[in-house]
């Protein structure tokens, strides 16, 4: 690990000023990914700005019935929060499907959104990686890529976003509030992470010096049911091979509100807009679900060893929609 300076600002504006003033600095939340990457030599910040004790650990309902989640709220606390469990169960399920109990106790909401891919080449500084060193190449494309992207990848990068939480937030239409040197702005979670294109070193649209201060959930839609389902190689402490977050309401036997997002398939949580458009107003049959999901996944471009992910995602999504339909009927 390279030597680094450490700063613990007392306020958000102090943190933002420090971040803006020190290119190459990093905000430190729970450190469950950043510190690992520093040990690996992947991250070499000259300054760590510890934001974990900023007064951003609150969870409050908004006037319209949504929920403000402070950026330093720990994953365990967020998952266990009664309001989250009651009104946004997919978020609670996604959080609990991630990492291990010990990691969830430490990891923060903001940090979770900023965790980096677990692509093995990204984590090994003795090998090329366009995300780590732009232009150095992507060995994953021809190498070990069973766990990597099938959607939205580029010649330069086939990495996946590892977060479970972000997939649920994408399906829930959550927004991210960013404090930066130029002020405060709000970004949809679905727009927060980006596709790799030709600059995969940029995971997100966050600007230099910007700090995530909170995540806001819009109010739950009346009559909607939701879930998060993840498939993985072992029962705990494994990243998603594929996952799905879905929100569904049914009116008169037809899909009313629908929101569907995939995890483990792409460089960002994959909001399935094509499927949603086909599903809205469609009958709640397995065939209709399959047609919509297939239309979404028609964009998949699997690599040599990860074609199973397309099938897996398809099964997860159809299974989720069928299950939610059953549940919606009984509520």
């Amino acid at each position: 690990m390279k030597p680094f300076a450490y700063l613990r600002p007392a306020t958000v504006s102090e943190a933002v000023r420090a971040g803006a003033g020190h290119p190459g600095s990093r905000f430190l939340g729970g450190g469950t990914n950043l510190v690992d990457l520093m040990k690996l030599g992947v991250e070499t910040p000259g300054l760590l700005i510890d934001v974990s004790r900023l007064p951003l650990d609150g969870m409050t309902r908004t006037d319209d019935g949504g929920l403000r989640i402070g950026a330093t709220v720990r994953n365990s606390d967020l998952a266990a929060h009664p309001e989250v469990r009651n009104h946004w169960p997919a978020l609670s399920q996604a959080l609990l499907a991630g990492a291990s109990g010990q990691l969830r106790n430490t990891a923060t909401t903001g940090g979770n959104l900023l965790q980096r891919t677990r692509c093995p080449y990204f984590q090994d500084v003795s090998k090329p990686c366009n995300k780590r060193i732009p232009g150095s190449g992507c060995p994953a494309r021809e190498g070990t890529h069973r766990d990597l992207a099938v959607l939205g990848h580029s010649q330069d990068c086939v990495a996946t976003n590892p977060s479970d939480m972000a997939v649920a937030l994408a399906a829930l239409d959550a927004t991210v509030q960013l404090h930066g040197p130029e002020g405060v702005r709000t970004v949809q979670v679905t727009d927060f992470h980006r596709l790799p294109a030709d600059n995969p070193d940029q995971d997100t649209v966050i600007r230099p010096g910007e700090l995530i201060t909170e995540v806001v959930l819009p109010p739950p839609s009346a009559g909607a049911v939701s879930l998060y389902r993840k498939a993985r190689d072992r029962a705990s402490y494994a990243f998603a091979l594929a996952s799905v977050a879905a929100v569904l309401s049914v009116r008169d036997g037809r899909v009313d509100r629908i929101s569907l997002a995939f995890g483990g398939l792409a460089h960002r949580p994959w909001r399935a807009r094509v499927a949603e458009d086909l599903l809205r107003g469609a009958s709640t049959t397995g065939d209709a679900f399959a047609r919509a999901v297939d239309a979404e996944l028609a964009a998949a471009r699997p690599l040599r060893d990860n074609g199973f992910k397309v099938d897996l995602a398809r099964r997860l999504a159809i299974g989720a929609l069928v299950e939610l339909t059953t549940r919606a009927a009984s509520t």
Binding site: P120, P139, L316
Partner: protein, 698 residues
Amino acid sequence: MSDSPRALGAPAVRREGRDKVTGTARYAAEHTAPGCLYGWIVPATVPTGRVTAIRTAGALAVPGVHTVLTHDNAPRLKEPDDPILAVLQDDRVPHRGWPVALVLAESLESARAGADAVYVEYATTEHDVVLTGDHPGLYTPKEANGGHPALRERGDAMSAFDAAPVRIDATYTLRGLHNHPMEPHASTARWADGHLTVHDSSQGSTAVRNSLATALGLDRDRITVISEHVGGGFGSKGTPRPQAVLAAMAARHTGHPVQLALPRRYMAAIVGHRAPTLQRVRLGADRDGVLSSVSHEIVTHTSRIKEFVEQAAVPARVMYASPHSRTEHRVAALDVPSPSWMRAPGEASGMYALESAMDELACALGIDPVELRLRNEPRTEPDSGLPFSSRNLTACLSEGARRFGWSDRDPRPAARQEGPRLLGTGVASATYPVLVSKAAASAQAAPDGSYRVGVNATDIGTGARTVLAQIAASVLDTPPDNVTIDIGSSDLPTAPVAGGSSGTASWGSAVHKAATTLVRRLAEHSGPLPPEGIGVTVDTGEETAQEPPYARHAFGAHFAEVAVDSLTGEVRVRRLLGVYAAGRILNSRTARSQFIGGMVMGLGMALTEGSTMDPAFGDFTESDLASYHVPSCADVPDIQAHWLDEDDPHLNPMGSKGIGEIGTVGTAAAIGNAVRHATGARLRELSLTPDKLLPYLP
């Protein structure tokens, strides 16, 4: 000898348990001496070739860096007894991850920063790291691991197979596997007054001491190796590893104590692995399931510097009666890290294939797989013709079937469903040889009535101290608490490694003999004991010299119930039950723990673990515990270990067989067979992850 129930067989609590859970037990990297330098290895970053230049100026400029050792300036070693220990001796890079330099610094951080600043130039050569069934480099070695002949033939297995009315011909594929003990390999070495003391995380410090003596050209009595507490090894610490040589070499070179702990990420390349195997099994049988031909052919890899051949066809020489048999190992030397022992080498990998093939035969015949095994029970060891000292495989199968509720089983595949989950059950046999080596032990009686026993056993988490105290106490007819046990130092009477499930047999035999001799000596003594007490030192050279006229093996049966998610292909074990016939169980608590631990490792082999050789880079992709999937607690379900009372007079004075490895043997097959029962899909490549299952699901 007294058969005190308070001693042998009792569930005595681990003697060092409290020290371990309270953090006071010290491991190899916790013996830091004043003035200690910390080492960090610079691993080769090319798959194969030569080092053409190493520039160390940048590293030496890092504050705190003391020395950089490379093949240019490292002390010359004598030829080590294991080629993997010949580190920093020449410019050759036999595989990626091979140590090319060692940075020594006043802090771990400086050493690491220094290692980052070492600049190495290489001349690379074409590398060849991918094992295939038709690899042109395949050859039949003389021997496989354990000294087993690589090829054994009885009768004419091919003709008998061709003539058999029912035939199974199947190839099973296992990726490489890694041991990944919780405690990474570490050594702390210091020289004082011409004497080298090394705290090493090892399964046997006598072996480390001897290897260091050879490599460093020192008399053995000038070296002490201590392995007081060891956080697991599973075979990867059964042979001396480079960290011990590097630490000793660096300590000698610098005059400082040196500590070298391997980071997890470096372990995959330098502390061994279970080599991948491609295993073709051919079984020929009549319509009643009686085998006429058994053929098991192994293809595996080794490294360029060392021939290690996973003896996966050897259990087929032990298991089932068949007039015709052919068992062969072929190996290709590739530019890969050197494979080595991993829990039940040979048995774990070979029994996966053989026991899967037996299940395939049972399915082909419509015979219950337990019954099929009973029908092929041999009267003598098939390959050698020797009588078994004891063999209770059929009793294990029957008892396991009873406990598991096997008789209710509907044999039809994909017939049981619970919601979206497909349920199935499977069975497999297990076997592991009885091994024993010469050991020495001392026993001493003190005037206060207490006893002290010394033997260089190693506790790798198994409870060695505890069971050795029980053995001594049973002979001395005293409570185990009245016996102090000294283990874990090469200055103690010489003893073999904790490996091959032979530790307790080897050490225990010596302890038993020492205690017995002491009892006799005490009986001859009259009057109070002298202040220094009365002591004896014995060894079991005589007892272990001759090969017994028996085939000696432990046997067992594994039963598994799995649930396969029909949506995702996720396989989860619901129940795992093992029944073992392993002689006399000496401590029911620690034995159960070992059996269950072995079963969990077999579960990992079946479902979660695997190491992927990267064809471009020549290393294993999974290099941390986030990517190398050891089973998590959530993967380990209702798991039970039981054993039969087995009275075998041909073993050792305790009547025990080894128990450390048999839990891993056959477990993967039982799980694979259960998956086949659940889904109808016969998968012949581990691990059984969703990508493998999905094509077979509705």
